[in-house]
């Protein structure tokens, strides 16, 4: 394979694994809003080191090991600014072993989620926008809309549960139900 072909393949693999990489990083950095940037940094590193990857071998494993390395890097940098709670190595080993088994249907899940989110009430949608996009503090937002931060937390908790159920339901409906858990 020439290097242009190899590059083409790498880009295709990178594209295919975007959600998986992102999810893996987020699971190692719960509650950390910079997971998106760390995942992008992992992309850049994967791209820089693409020569190291042998097409045909396990891209997912390679990508995840690079992503974990970027997570460590990120922690080192951030350690100077703030002290964050981090999982033990043992726990991270669990995640590294178990999470990759659960990432094969992420695109379907996201498509399902899109449908689910469209069914949300306007106020719920705004809460999600606020929490995921604008990232201003819950207390501030609560004050704006005349609620308490505590009640918004409960709302968010329920929203996520509902969306999670909805995704599973959609997947079942559209694929698993007549097709099995997956087809």
């Amino acid at each position: 394979m020439n290097s242009a072909d190899q590059d083409t393949q790498i880009v295709a693999l990178l594209t295919e694994h975007q959600l998986a990489i992102r999810l893996y990083v987020q699971s190692l950095l719960p509650g950390d809003h910079s997971a998106h940037d760390v995942a992008q940094q992992a992309n850049a590193t994967l791209w820089k080191k693409r020569e190291d990857f042998e097409v045909g071998t396990n891209f997912k494993a390679w990508a995840f090991s690079v992503a974990r390395y970027e997570v460590l890097n990120h922690r080192k940098k951030k350690a100077r600014e703030s002290r964050r709670l981090t999982f033990s190595d043992e726990m991270e080993d669990f995640i590294a072993a178990e999470l990759p088994q659960r990432v094969d249907d992420l695109e379907e899940r996201q498509i399902a989620l899109r449908g689910c989110m469209q069914k949300l009430k306007q106020t719920d949608r705004e809460l999600i926008q606020h929490r995921y996009l604008h990232r201003t503090s819950l207390a501030e937002y609560a004050a704006q809309i005349g609620r308490t931060a505590g009640s918004l937390k409960v709302s968010l908790f329920r929203l996520r549960s509902r969306l999670q159920k909805c995704i599973v339901h959609q997947l079942n409906l559209a694929s698993s139900k007549p097709g099995g858990q997956q087809a």
Binding site: A4, D7, T8, V11, A12, T15, Q18, L19, Q26, S27, P30, G31, H33, H36, Q40, Q41, N43, A44, W47, K48, L85, S88, E90, M91, F94, E98, R102, L106, E107, E108, R109, Q110, I111, L113, R114, G115, Q118, Q129, Y132, L133, K153, L156, F157, R160, S161, L163, Q164, I167, V168, Q170, L173, A174, S175, S176, K177, P178, G179, G180, Q181, A183
Partner: protein, 533 residues
């Protein structure tokens, strides 16, 4: 820690809003309890997906209403790439990358292609040599040398040229505008837009100037007859000559000589003649099948039988010819030509919502699902042949996957999906359909045989796969109840939710049957032989 508390802690962790003490407690539980870890993964997953989705939507990406599951959307990939590009902007050779990535979008999500220069428009008892395999009507001709042992084939090249080839013939389609003939009789009708079409032979080549001509090629010579219009004849070792309507010549391979020949187009089967013969032949075969079909209707094993060529055509009832008289109701589906090209004798399910509603009472054991179907495209994840409403215990589902595999299942359990349990085993066939077969008719049958403990898929009378039914997945009492042919009705239509799964078959069915027993391979084979168009 009870499970509610646990869930709240997991959420607090995901929110970045957990105390150190709670964090330590939660991690301790996660380390010893796989279920807690699963819950954590589930919650992180939904959190991450919401985050990604919100970002993509705010990036101005159109979102579409997902009614069921359309194909994987392209934009997901493109925005993935866009995000990649944003970071890779810091990496060298971005320009190269950009041009590259456009290629990838172009090549990764390409429309399905089929390879070849023309299709078999018609054939009359065509026998292809084994290495050319069997090429059905409507099928794209493979590239490379073709050997037609016997019979007659009409080939429509994509340039618009229509060829009639009589076996035995050795030839190769080099492009839509070039054909090489080593031996055999070939007649070409060339429309104006395909002027310049060439046929190459050892003795020389014909260049068409908008006409109809015929060649009889042997290892020694080539006979050229101009039936209409004008051609150029380029002998291998001599000067070009013009030939006009009514002229003929014989060109020898070795001696570079040509001799006059009396013009005799009747030596070659013409396009109309072939067509008429075919129509007669099809109509005869259709008559034979109709006779047989009337006998088949008395088969006591039938649960229902719908030949779709019923008279009384336009009302929406489909009469069951089996003794059970389980009439179906046609919803939306349009009438179209059946596999013998007889008009209004099949049901086309392409229009969204198309289906035939049936209700089959009772409990059953083994069964055979049987149909003749024309598949135009497989653009849904699931393309229905026969699906029970919803998906309840003990119910069969029969459909075709997007990738061309046949799918059969009988639901065994009501599992907890979140725990990853499976509700049934799916019996897949190998891929039998590719876009090159669009528009062709197939006999499709699947037998669920409880006594022999296996599931067998048949295409055109041949077994394509057989799989044993494991004890774990065996359902001895199969129920059907309300069901749809050519689509899926899940029970939600009873609720106020107007969305529904899009699962109609992009194609047509002209004969559909369910037997309450597993037919054997010999019987399916016979049904194919009698029923093939």
């Amino acid at each position: 820690m009870n499970s509610e508390e646990r869930s709240q802690l997991i959420d607090a962790l995901i929110e970045g809003d957990i105390s150190e003490a709670d964090f330590v407690r939660l991690e301790a539980e996660m380390l010893v309890d796989a279920e807690v870890r699963q819950e954590y993964y589930d919650r992180v997953q939904v959190d991450t997906l919401i985050d990604v989705e919100t970002r993509e939507q705010s990036a101005g990406v159109d979102s579409e209403k997902i009614v069921a599951f359309p194909r994987r959307t392209l934009w997901l990939r493109t925005t993935g790439i866009a995000a990649l590009l944003a970071i890779l902007a810091t990496v060298a050779s971005v320009n190269w990358f950009v041009s590259r990535h456009q290629n990838i979008i172009a090549t990764n999500e390409v429309e399905p292609t089929a390879s070849g220069y023309g299709v078999v428009a018609e054939h009359l008892d065509a026998k292809w040599a084994s290495d050319s395999a069997s090429i059905q009507r409507g099928e794209i001709l493979p590239q490379g040398p073709l050997v037609l042992d016997a019979g007659i084939v009409q080939i429509d090249l994509f340039s618009g040229v229509a060829l009639v080839v009589e076996g035995s013939a050795n030839f190769e389609i080099l492009s839509p505008m070039d054909v090489r003939v080593d031996s055999g009789k070939i007649r070409a009708r060339v429309p104006e837009q395909a002027r310049g079409f060439r046929i190459h032979t050892a003795a020389g080549e014909v260049v068409d100037l908008g006409t109809e001509f015929a060649l009889d090629v042997t290892p020694d010579h080539a006979d050229v007859h101009v039936i209409d219009g004008e051609i150029e004849w380029h002998p291998t070792d001599a000067d070009m000559q013009h030939m006009s309507k009514g002229e003929a010549l014989r060109a020898s391979n070795d001696t570079a000589t040509t001799s006059p020949l009396s013009h005799d187009p009747s030596r070659f089967i013409g396009h109309e003649e072939l067509e008429n013969t075919l129509i007669r032949g099809r109509s005869e075969r259709r008559q034979e099948w109709l006779t047989h079909s009337a006998q088949l209707a008395n088969d006591p094993r039938l649960l229902l039988y719908y030949p779709m060529s019923q008279k009384g055509g336009w009302n929406r009832q489909l009469v069951d010819l089996s003794p059970h008289a389980i009439n179906g109701t046609i919803v939306r589906a349009n009438r179209s030509a059946d596999r013998w090209e007889s008009e209004n004798a099949a049901l086309d399910f392409t229009a969204a919502g198309s289906r035939v509603r049936v209700e089959i009472p009772g409990e059953h054991r083994s069964m055979t699902l049987y149909c003749w179907a024309r598949i135009d495209s497989l653009d849904r994840w699931y393309n229905s042949l026969f699906l029970t409403d919803g998906h309840e215990l003990n119910e069969p589902h029969w459909q075709i996957l997007k990738d061309g595999r046949l799918f059969f299942s009988v639901k065994k359990n009501d599992p907890q999906v979140s725990k990853g349990e499976r509700d049934k085993h799916i019996y897949y066939s190998p891929k039998f359909w590719t876009p090159a077969q669009a528009g062709q008719w197939f006999q499709i049958a699947t037998t669920y045989d409880i006594d022999a403990r296996n599931v067998t898929h048949y295409i055109n009378g041949e077994i394509v796969s057989r799989e044993a039914i494991a004890e774990k997945w065996l359902v001895e009492t199969v129920t059907i109840g309300a069901a749809s042919i050519g689509n899926w009705s899940e029970p939600r239509y009873k609720s106020a939710d107007p969305s529904f799964a899009v699962r109609n078959l992009n194609g047509a069915i002209d004969e559909f049957a369910i037997f309450g027993e597993a037919l054997n391979a010999e019987e399916i084979r016979e049904l194919y032989e009698i029923g093939k168009p």
